[in-house]
């Protein structure tokens, strides 16, 4: 502290500390704590707050899994949505990794500098386009009377048009499209730093291409893979716009369940509890990835 005062003077230091404290305490930490505290309350109208009906309970958390029968594999509605969200987000993450890896490898290492710069620009442009618009584009393409059905019918792959927007397929396609570039750039950055002499040495020693990737490129790209997976998983698990535009009632996402509890069910404590569960899921995934791939927080924030 004294060093700060010596460097910036008392006035500037005080102002600096105060506004930063305001940000971190009033805008970041307290809201999160209050949300968590609220999630343990019963749902009572404002007038009854602090009264006998307003007490601490675990009910909002337990209600997620209440009614689960593991023997027959039946789950209550909200829990089923939660499990689908985890499964869907994991699938989107894996698909993004598989789709991006060859492109990242080409852009980072195989392409000549000028071509790589050109391809990077082509990648950057859709990256800056709003998530809603990227989703909307797929809404048009996947529509019943849309160009995808028309094209597939035209070349004879389909006999009759498919309702893409009434299953999980549309949501997954839309999410991979919306979030894939959050995988691409970390991958490119990680692969770029690989020393190609290692690859050439492996080739000289007769390693086939898949061994080169398995033993050299992928281990080297680990930090990029970790960061990409974290970004895509968190974005997919907490996406609201993609499932709400490309999904149907049968493919509801956990964020939609939270929204419904807040604004249609008027049950804020339960909505808060579910939001905290979603946050726990994301934090859990981040920590898992950081452990598996041994990366730090500073690598992710880049």
């Amino acid at each position: 502290m004294s060093e700060l005062v010596k460097r910036y003077g008392l006035g500037i230091t005080t102002a600096m500390v105060l506004v930063t404290a305001f940000w971190l305490i009033v805008m970041v930490v307290l809201p999160a704590l209050v949300m968590v505290e609220y999630s343990f309350h019963t749902n009572v109208p404002v007038t009854k707050r602090g009264g006998p009906e307003d007490y601490y309970t675990l009910d909002n958390y337990l209600s997620l899994v209440r009614g689960t029968d593991w023997s027959t594999w039946t789950f209550p509605n909200d829990f089923r949505v939660f499990l689908r969200t985890i499964w869907g987000a994991a699938l989107v993450t894996l698909l993004s990794l598989v789709v991006c890896y060859p492109v990242a490898w080409y852009v980072a290492k195989l392409a000549k500098p000028q071509r790589a710069a050109m391809l990077l620009l082509l990648l950057v442009i859709p990256f800056w386009v709003n998530e809603i618009l990227r989703t909307f584009a797929w809404y048009i393409i996947l529509a019943y009377q849309g160009p995808l059905n028309a094209a597939l019918l035209g070349i004879g792959i389909l006999e009759k048009p498919v309702r893409w927007l009434s299953g999980s397929g549309g949501v997954l396609i839309g999410m991979v499209y919306a979030f894939l570039l959050f995988m691409m750039f970390p991958l490119i950055n990680a692969i770029e730093t690989l020393d190609m002499n290692q690859v050439e040495a492996a080739e000289d020693l007769g390693a086939p291409w898949w061994q080169i990737h398995r033993r050299i490129v992928i281990p080297h790209a680990k930090p990029g893979i970790a960061v990409g997976c974290i970004m895509v998983f968190v974005l997919a698990a907490s996406s609201y716009i993609v499932p709400s535009l490309l999904g149907s009632p049968g493919t509801r996402w956990f964020t939609e369940t939270i929204y419904v509890w807040f604004f249609e069910g008027q049950n804020w404590p339960r909505g808060s509890a579910y939001a905290f569960i979603l946050l726990g899921l994301c934090v859990g995934f981040i920590m898992l990835m950081m452990r598996i791939f041994r990366v730090g927080l500073a690598d992710i924030a880049k």
Partner: protein, 284 residues
């Protein structure tokens, strides 16, 4: 990579072509559908070419309300997040190692928190204090993570700052305020400006945090989402096309300035390296 067999090379190239078509074609289809007379935005069937949907968009009052709100929120977010982001970066630069990593973790945590959760926690917290949802709450919710972006951008530049300049100015009798105004701030200016642009952009395109904090107010992203669900016409495509055109122009401008900055940094590094070798030669 001369030893690569041409077959695998061909497959990779084919894959790349398909990938870039997949990446860019949907946006092109969305844009082209603007000019179809069809009431539902599509390119199949093509019922006739028109520009009527731009007119329909301009005549839509709700769109103007949403746009105005988005601009107001964006400017408010700049006004909050830029000063706090600069202060936070300066603080982070000045504290000791152990406190630094701790403080850093707290500061970047909003970037890893899902936007919906930032929105919900902001809504619940301020509701307890008696503040209801609305644009003001969206500004607060968005700023809580946009500040972190500004902080990171300013921090990156601050790390390369030559602190002896500050010390020299203080030794020569400058006040702390003068040193900040005349030396540190002018040095940070490019990062501050870039941070402000990024802050506006992030705010303008935000949906998740806004969704929970907006009350009954409508921003442009909320307008687009509600239009797609109810009352979709190619007027939405016209808006998308305009926004994408602006985005592309912005992205290209940003890329150019980023590359220039990178080239400058590389040149400076090279000069420094040359100076080092010169010094070493002299010592030898």
């Amino acid at each position: 990579m001369t030893t690569r067999t041409s077959a695998s090379d061909l497959i990779l190239r084919l894959y790349l072509a398909i990938f870039f078509i997949y990446l860019l074609l949907p946006l092109a289809v969305m844009g082209i559908a603007t000019f179809n007379t069809s009431k539902f935005p599509t390119v199949t069937p093509w019922l006739g070419t028109t520009t009527q949907w731009f007119g329909a968009l301009m005549a839509d009052n709700q769109m103007w309300v949403g746009l105005t709100n988005s601009v107001i929120v964006g400017i408010a977010v700049i006004l909050i997040s830029v000063p706090i982001g600069v202060a936070a970066a300066m603080l982070l630069d000045g504290v000791h190692r152990r406190a630094k990593s701790m403080l850093y973790a707290v500061m970047v945590s909003p970037l890893l928190t899902p936007g919906v959760i930032i929105g919900i926690s902001t809504l619940v917290f301020w509701d307890r204090l008696g503040v209801k949802g609305g644009l003001h709450l969206s500004v607060i919710g968005q700023s809580s993570f946009i500040i972190a972006y500004v902080m990171l951008m300013v921090s990156a530049r601050l790390q390369r700052f030559d602190r002896t300049l500050e010390e020299a100015a203080l030794d020569l009798g400058g006040t702390h305020m003068q040193v900040f105004r005349r030396i540190l701030f002018p040095y940070l200016k490019p990062a501050v400006f870039a941070g402000a642009v990024l802050a506006f952009f992030q705010s303008f395109e935000n949906y998740n945090t806004t969704l929970f904090t907006r009350g009954t107010d409508v921003t442009l992203t909320v307008y687009i989402a509600s239009k797609v669900r109810t009352g979709l016409t190619p007027a939405v495509n016209a808006l998308a096309l305009i926004l994408i055109a602006i985005t592309i122009a912005g992205a290209i401008a940003y890329e150019i300035s980023r590359r220039q900055a990178a080239a400058e940094a590389a040149a400076a590094k090279k000069r420094a390296a040359e100076a080092d070798t010169m010094a070493e030669l002299k010592i030898a």
